[in-house]
Symmetry: C2
Subunit: 326 residues, 2 copies
Amino acid sequence: MLTFWQDYPEIQEKLEKVQALMAARLKINNEDIQNALQRFTSRGGKMVRPALFFLFAGLVENEKVDEKKLTKIAASLEMLHSATLIHDDIIDDSPLRRGLPSIESQFGKDVAVYTGDFVYTIYFELLIETMNGTEFLSRNAKSMKKILQGELTQMQSAFNKENTARRYMKAISGKTAELLSLSCLEGAYFAGGDRQLQRSARKIGRSIGLAFQVYDDILNFTVGLDEADKPILTDFRQGIYTLPLLLAKEADEAAIMPYLEAPEQLSRDECLQFAALVTDLGGITGSLMIAATLTELALAEIRKLPQSRNREILEEATQILLQRNY
Amino acid sequence: MLTFWQDYPEIQEKLEKVQALMAARLKINNEDIQNALQRFTSRGGKMVRPALFFLFAGLVENEKVDEKKLTKIAASLEMLHSATLIHDDIIDDSPLRRGLPSIESQFGKDVAVYTGDFVYTIYFELLIETMNGTEFLSRNAKSMKKILQGELTQMQSAFNKENTARRYMKAISGKTAELLSLSCLEGAYFAGGDRQLQRSARKIGRSIGLAFQVYDDILNFTVGLDEADKPILTDFRQGIYTLPLLLAKEADEAAIMPYLEAPEQLSRDECLQFAALVTDLGGITGSLMIAATLTELALAEIRKLPQSRNREILEEATQILLQRNY
């Protein structure tokens, strides 16, 4: 659990408090759903959003900071993320999430709809307890709206052969970058950081978010291709046309287009051929370059912040978060 | 449109402003969904929640009241209701809603999930714009939670032969009464009513809500039985066991039980037989008595309020709202 942060015991400890708070809040009048929700949140993945929140909060020297309040706000970010994941799994019919059966596959779409709604409610409760009377309530509402619009944009461009790298960047800007940006901003703000730090936090969060999603989308083209028993190119086969293939399409539209007619019907071999084609046409290299550029943008901005041990930690953590194996 | 309130031009006019505001807020980056949402909300049914809100606001003499703010709050109540309806239709696979195709049947469950989420977001925006810094934000979050728990309770008791009248009342208390109660309370509060009026408003709203739902559930057993081309007993056939049949079951369990084995497989004739059985066993009469008692409770409480023209309107409106043809 949370082994990702084991080299940063301070962050890890705070994230464990977030998990405990989430478990305490996810009380619902159905034991099965409650257990599933608590398992779901206790796996927690890397808890990227709360982690970024605390990394930025750590940049502020403030002895009067209310740690319990920070824990609640960090939990609110993870709750919002969890609610969108639970609803996403309905759309994708995903059997698994974080290595466990998704709420939808365990309990069906009906329960998943209400369970996601329920998690949204806990998210609002946490916001109201910590931000009532501040402008951050409406910032949260705006972010939630952007995230949903990003999801809708992605859903509408599904199987759309006319999708472009530009539209892709817009969709992931809402879908992923918005919430990571908010996480960094809230960390800076609620720890008492000044305007300048808040501005930098938003900017850095946005770059990290974009890079994070591009790397994620590259992985969908490169990982597990030689494991015969696992489904491959899952996003592509659901009509989600991401950066690697969009860049390859820009390089040689005639070669790519035939695969976009009915990706869900392609055989495993055809998928492998397609992945090789995307690679040959520079789709992977191009995406890696874009992700690396976005990472560098984030790191350059981080290095502009006042020198401190916590800034170094943020710099390292950003590199680790965005360093994956290809 | 809104013909239900045509004898109350003051209420009707306010409700039209609510509709206009809702239409203005439901802007989304997909024209089809936006149009569907706007059609959905412009039908508006009776707009029971905003109407109750204004009926209670009307009880307060307050010249400084901010009408625009009241319009926004009334819209927030209808938005919350709409969001739950959109998600309910996913669960019920309802082809129609308010005489129009449901969002789910027009666009599929995927779009319906996000569209409902989107409407929740607009609801929060409206709350934040009007109640930031007040205790009503957390009251709203609590109500939303109760509504969801009510829905979940109902879903879990689907096809449950052990369901009881008591559990039924608990489920509708969350599912329907909670939001009607909140609507009355917010009307009293935001128009500047005192504690006593607020307490009465909550109580009256709760009784109206319970009566409203019981009447609605009676209708499912009595209306359209002679129209051969329409589906009948739709709730029952989806395993939603409501008051009429639960009372009939208390009267003669052995007679009712066989029908509860697999209601979705019953033929039209068997459904008609079942409806007749429920009536013969006093399920309809009993439910009507309970609904009438709840209505009387509401009216008695209304009559305790200080005498005024607007109190008379509230009394009449309550009777009209709860007066249906059986």
